[in-house]
Subunit: 381 residues, 4 copies
Amino acid sequence: MTEGRKLRMGMVGGGPGAFIGPVHRLAAEMDGKIALVAGAFSQSAERSRQAGLRYGIAPERAYANYRQMIEAERGRADGMDFVAIVTPNHLHLPVALDALEAGLPALSDKPATATYEEALKLEAAVAKSGLPYGLTHTYAGYAMVRQARTLCASGELGVIRKVAVEYFQGWLSEPVEKTGHKQAAWRTDPVRNGPGGAIGDIGTHAFHLLEYVSGLKVTAINARLRSVVAGRQLDDDCSAFLRLSNGAEGTLGCSQIATGEMNALHLRLYGEKGSLLWRQQDPNRLFVRRPGRPEEIHHAATEYLSADAQAVARTPNGHPEGYLEAFAVLYREFADGLAVWKQGTANPLPATLPGIEAGVRGMRFIARAIESSRSEGWVEF
Amino acid sequence: MTEGRKLRMGMVGGGPGAFIGPVHRLAAEMDGKIALVAGAFSQSAERSRQAGLRYGIAPERAYANYRQMIEAERGRADGMDFVAIVTPNHLHLPVALDALEAGLPALSDKPATATYEEALKLEAAVAKSGLPYGLTHTYAGYAMVRQARTLCASGELGVIRKVAVEYFQGWLSEPVEKTGHKQAAWRTDPVRNGPGGAIGDIGTHAFHLLEYVSGLKVTAINARLRSVVAGRQLDDDCSAFLRLSNGAEGTLGCSQIATGEMNALHLRLYGEKGSLLWRQQDPNRLFVRRPGRPEEIHHAATEYLSADAQAVARTPNGHPEGYLEAFAVLYREFADGLAVWKQGTANPLPATLPGIEAGVRGMRFIARAIESSRSEGWVEF
Amino acid sequence: MTEGRKLRMGMVGGGPGAFIGPVHRLAAEMDGKIALVAGAFSQSAERSRQAGLRYGIAPERAYANYRQMIEAERGRADGMDFVAIVTPNHLHLPVALDALEAGLPALSDKPATATYEEALKLEAAVAKSGLPYGLTHTYAGYAMVRQARTLCASGELGVIRKVAVEYFQGWLSEPVEKTGHKQAAWRTDPVRNGPGGAIGDIGTHAFHLLEYVSGLKVTAINARLRSVVAGRQLDDDCSAFLRLSNGAEGTLGCSQIATGEMNALHLRLYGEKGSLLWRQQDPNRLFVRRPGRPEEIHHAATEYLSADAQAVARTPNGHPEGYLEAFAVLYREFADGLAVWKQGTANPLPATLPGIEAGVRGMRFIARAIESSRSEGWVEF
Amino acid sequence: MTEGRKLRMGMVGGGPGAFIGPVHRLAAEMDGKIALVAGAFSQSAERSRQAGLRYGIAPERAYANYRQMIEAERGRADGMDFVAIVTPNHLHLPVALDALEAGLPALSDKPATATYEEALKLEAAVAKSGLPYGLTHTYAGYAMVRQARTLCASGELGVIRKVAVEYFQGWLSEPVEKTGHKQAAWRTDPVRNGPGGAIGDIGTHAFHLLEYVSGLKVTAINARLRSVVAGRQLDDDCSAFLRLSNGAEGTLGCSQIATGEMNALHLRLYGEKGSLLWRQQDPNRLFVRRPGRPEEIHHAATEYLSADAQAVARTPNGHPEGYLEAFAVLYREFADGLAVWKQGTANPLPATLPGIEAGVRGMRFIARAIESSRSEGWVEF
């Protein structure tokens, strides 16, 4: 991308009623490096057209399905540069495969695919294509998550011995999927969502955040999944013990029936020499504790942060950044990577941007958690 | 603006080193209703050109000065629809006057002008032009500020009897204006900034927030302004007593030498029947207290909020919105207003968007505060 | 106890170096209903004498051991009315048995005994004696814990479906037991402490708090105990899944190697209709959430609290009460119970004061947790 | 006081309906160094007798008035060692004078007297008597206030340039003094309370805390006092500008009509190099900010605190101490001072315990604030 030329994005999914579509559009365009130019926003041609109008793209570029979009955009001089995949989970793989086959980089909503097997397929396809592929584990885009990650890597906390990550929501406390709630409907439907309910929707975020910040890998899991709301086909509440690659242990919890919780993603890491706490709903602060010293609050956009945490700030300290800004960090890193890639760099995306490896691990996590819950015991990763 | 056609924005100011330019660009474009297409970003033609490149606009539309921009854009079929004014304060008036004269609506950074007299001139010009004019008192764009405003108007807190608003920062604790800090340099220079230092830069925000939320007007002020850092020409710390239109009293404080503070804008209103607290650094929560009842935390993007507070949400509750989103709310309201105005509506901007009236009041506030501080006593408004 | 006559307390344990002895003395005497008059503060006669001096009791009433104390006090007209047991765990049973045999009521530090088998013995002895017996699960004395308990019982939260209780400390992050730390030494020694380390010391508090507030019983546990610090003989970090009597499930965590944590006991209960959160380090606030309504903060010593929560307040709202006050609530309830008991009431202690039943459950909890951890699976309660 | 012999306290005031009497009793006895043995708890003999019963003192030592008490206790071998003065304000002086005349040290509730003139009289009497005299500015007893004080003295914050102290309550939002509220009745009555309402009741606390922590003296005040509730004779809401001995300036606010506030005493001090924040309702934490470094939370009872902050801790960190413990610190310091004084030391009370000097300054503060409010301008101190 030459300066002054925005990267052109085509979106699959994100039509009327979707939560995540507008978020992707907004995050993609925030830093002025990407423009949404085309979309297959819905499987209904009419609904896709309406969404296109709302998004302000040219009418002829709101397509009835993603195959059509890929085909048509290919033929345009100003055709899209990459595909953003924001559909329900079962379409992540087919869309990604088609995009890659057409030579288009892809940035996909998580989870990477609907099943672990699909993820392996996608991993192979990405490798074969040599194309950039990114995964929007949003929370990896927060400045203070970057700060936490760098703190861990620096050894300042010593060897991590205990971890606790949890992601609690309450919006599925009632069987809202039966009363026309579109988000709830596909997320509780094994066909469109895949086999993991809460564990897939938000457990994967918690899992990713843990590995992303700690630099450790989960090696075994002992999970307990429940469907608390009567008649629900997928899990809506999960607790798990974890073992990690350095011998540490810990817990992961996720729930969508934690009545009264909003979007409570919390990470705590306990090392030999210190610990940290980050909470998504208070994202611009990171709490760091070391024995014999005052507790510290690291604030976003301050000069004492690590370089990579400073790099993602858009506003001065005390001017809160939020969820959309975190999301946009991932798009920005993807856009910057694509600019480099177009000049021939082989692996253009930075390590801070989750990719297919994170996607495969997330899907393995879901599979292993379900397996563990069924067998009521530990499962190796 | 028909759906699908973005409003075209020309920006004056916001060149290299500016904080607020990129923020305006980002806020303007966030909701997909506005595109930055032209700019006179700096008084140096070369720097303006560089900024234009960075913002991704066509090279020929990065102008050497705003007069040139207004002239040239006028001649284009795709010329700009309105002007965003983000210069140092002393240019707010001349730019606004020229824009209005050219028939262009304007959205201006605050304060409206450099002096009260200028504000009165601008008020007259706006009235005469019949053109939409908006003022980016950013904090008015937060959902929970809207909620607080509606709560007050509803009478739920009873008659407001006591107010306390403060805006504390620490970034001017040292004489950074002497060491090349561009923001600090013009803000502490009476020529470019106008006669009010902290009182103008952030005191006006506090003042506006108070009147905006409470629905009351300040009728008298007894202010104490200081220049704490040696050699500084403008005030950097201010405290004031206030009298309000309903007989209430209270305090307003603002400081840029409150070492260690970031951007601590806090509002408290105490009525006969209840009180509220809002803090800008924790913007998605509003605290409401009523005797004999548990304290309440109102969270952004929830169903129990007032309609106007709900209307500005972009993400579900628990997904924090921040400063940029608040800013973008004002741009969105301006854009929506312009769309209506183009269809012939006379006063298209909603009451929630600060306009020239707020601008005049802000400038009167600065003038009265300085007058009061000099006379060491009360001054009527 | 007639008004104006304080109840006379004899203490076993609590000599030099003990943390909990002075706390018991202070809590016992806080409300002016109890006076410490005698003690066997240490197994060293000299150290007991010194402690007696420090506590300000008559020299001849600082005994060399508890048997001597019971014997001697019996012979005095002004002999002690009850025994407070604050020794390391392995002495809880023998002291309690001797006290009961001598006709003396006992208030014991938790856990009730060193092992589950001992707890059953003690339960039988208490029953046989007909004497009042109390257990100082301190956290049950906080006003807001009482409020939480009453809220649960009222059904306002609906059926509880998910629980999460944790108690994290960091003071055993290093092997301090090897460097002369007296508290650490006996707590990590299986002989003096019993078989449960962190699970016994603080896990029992978490367990008790959960059952106390929710009104539910744990029916099965799947626990994972670790000794993280090299060379430590007892567990110092534990995570567990729980099943509860109404079908709810949840987690319990406790750790003494959570570096940087102080005394972080947190309880969350999620019902069908609402949830609550209480944190011991912020004890005067209880957070209550119900869908579709603002989050509530219930403050201690306010008029909207339940009667039993109001009953334990000593200072007006906004005047924080703390750990010692919570402790003293239990002593006060014990003292009030004894006054009634002396007039012939059979079961004088209120349900709000933990007794031998809670003690037995706590010991069963430790035993089942250890058993579960060894078998790596679920164990029925 | 030899070890093992408690100091004997006689109390004046604190009868039925009083808030502060039981608090003084509790605080006095908390550390086992003082015993309440006598009292003139009410001006009604019968009510004094009842209070004596409730406090558990010998019936003959519950006197009908303080003169009688002083006289009678003098004649006893086990007579009281000092007098605690907890009456409404107008009795502080006469009781103190009589006590001093009888050779009895006194510990008095604040404010020291009802008027400034009285305070000067008392100052002279204390000086003449050579007796220990203490003043229970409770908040001076908090560990973190001590830490803040030592931090300031250490120069770590640099020269203090700006201060902000406020004390907001809401309990007088309604005219409760007209509906039988005993506390409200005398506090809003100029005869029993003295000329300062909120400024005297809580403004003096804020004023004291400011001088106590900062080590600075207020040199001038510009205050605005209001009686907001109709018919109230004394001020219930006050705001003031302050000048301090080192050239710093700042604000002091106090209110008892801040609806919904409980006991919100907050102190902020801004120095050249750093700032601190302490809030009474969250008393075990002190926030310290320094440019270029993470914000720090200093927690009570930790090893990194100053020696004098550590000295007042009774429980380990994470076990919250509260208002009663802070109060008891002052009693403990008074008791320790008396023990030394009995051995002939001339000025036995430590600088950390407020005395008559603080009392005089507090009364001057009230007088100057009222004078300033009447003259609507600055008044020198």
